[in-house]
Amino acid sequence: MTAALQALQDQYDFLTANLPKLLEACNGDAGKENQINAQYAACEANYTNCINKIFNDNDPSVQALVAQMKTQQTALGAAVKHIGDIGGVITAITTAVQTGASLAAKV
């Protein structure tokens, strides 16, 4: 599997696995639920848009973004461990998904 597709799949996997937990943590706050669902949908669209492409692993900017996404994935994992701060988690997710969108646009 190409590194770019792997990075997008990892982000999509992570959010899919944690989506119920993240939504529950919003405690019925419609605004926060909307933010999480919007970011999840964007992440899925990034992944699905890219599933059918051939990625060019030799493109340095793609490799840099892949590395960046791996770092953000780690940060995201750490943030979810402190899920009490749902606002901080949403910020971390939004940053990571935006990077995913940048990656999807480049491949």
Binding site: M1, Q9, T16, E33, N37, N52, K53, I54
Partner: protein, 340 residues
């Protein structure tokens, strides 16, 4: 006096050799065609099963919309459903192409050593039609994965040769088609598209399965089956607190099964590629050397068939029709503003 006899014997021997040689070539061609038909059938079924998997992913998206807490924005909007429907459509076209190649291979097998039957030209026409409708996999933001033009070119040649009953020239044309098909499959398989489609389906299913366990929508006593079934016993929960260890066991089982299924598909997609590669080698040998001694379809097809059979146990074809955009795929109550 003995000379004419000897001449006749030599002549008879020569005729026998020519006859045997032509029979051998025909046998090899027939065997190759049958093997290609089997490989094409499995390829069509492989793509068909991936289509079912993609349809199931769409259905799971509908379940996310229904079961998970949400306000105005859905986790699986119609725009994402449309993207997956496009992928689904392309997978189905690949399945149809493989079926058409199977028909041509079968027709080629019938053609060898006989006069051309009418189904040969029918199959050839169908292949031509499938080749015309096949497009590259979609990529909204970039260049599409191209269908090798050789597939189209070779397909047209096969159609023309079959229609002209040129049996001996068909092998090189089929050789080119199989190799082009191998190029297409390996391009998409090695980029990880097939493995990824199945993996993300499993991840989505596992996420919802665990959520269902946490919500007590699942009878977790089923995890006791290996211990109870030999004795005909059935599990029973007396209170919700009893469920905790069983819930943990059920979630662990989901993780373990996900890994096992994922690995099985990775083996199947690699085996499919190997089978197409082997078939390409055999067709090339037939086309260039006029002989193909291998008998039996590529053995690794068993791995592909096992995966297809396993998927069919939990994704029956009739239960995986893609729901239309906006349609709810479940009778469960909507989770909009739900806090259960």
């Amino acid at each position: 006096m003995k000379r004419p006899h000897r001449l006749h014997r030599y002549l008879a021997l020569l005729l026998c050799l020519i006859f045997l040689s032509s029979c051998k070539t025909s046998d090899d061609a027939k065997a190759a065609a049958k093997q290609l038909a089997t490989t094409s059938t499995d390829l069509a079924n492989y793509y068909g099963t991936l289509s079912q998997v993609t349809t199931a992913t769409i259905t799971l998206g509908g379940l996310q919309n229904t079961l998970l807490p949400h306000a105005d924005i859905l986790p699986f909007p119609d725009s994402n459903r449309t993207l997956l429907n496009t992928t689904l459509s392309e997978l189905q076209k690949r399945s149809d192409l493989a079926k058409a190649l199977q028909d041509v291979s079968t027709a080629f097998s019938n053609l060898t050593g006989s006069t051309a039957p009418t189904d040969v030209s029918d199959a050839a026409s169908k292949l031509a039609s499938e080749l015309n409708t096949l497009k590259a996999l979609p990529s909204p933001a970039g260049s599409p994965i191209p269908i090798p033009s050789a597939i189209g070119d070779a397909g047209k040649l096969i159609v023309s040769l079959i229609q002209e009953h040129e049996e001996r020239k068909i092998a090189p044309a089929l050789d080119a088609t199989v190799n082009a098909l191998k190029g297409l499959f390996s391009n998409e398989e090695e980029s990880g598209a097939y493995d990824s489609l199945y993996h993300t389906y499993l991840t989505k299913a596992a996420s919802l399965a665990k959520y269902s366990i946490e919500k007590n929508w699942v009878d977790e006593t089923s995890v006791l089956g290996p211990a109870l079934q030999p004795f005909g016993l059935t599990g029973k929960l007396n209170s919700k607190s009893d469920a905790a260890p069983l819930q943990a066991a059920a979630e662990a089982e989901i993780d373990e099964t996900t890994q096992t299924l994922d690995a099985a598909h990775q083996k199947a997609s690699a085996a499919m590629l190997q089978a197409i590669t082997d078939m390409g080698t055999r067709m090339h040998q037939l086309a260039t050397e006029g002989r193909m001694p291998s008998r039996g379809a590529p053995v690794m097809l068993t791995t592909v068939e096992n995966w297809i059979n396993t998927v069919s146990t939990y994704l029956p074809a009739s239960a995986t029709t893609a729901p239309a955009a906006g349609a709810s795929s479940t009778t469960a109550p909507s989770a909009k503003k739900s806090k259960n």
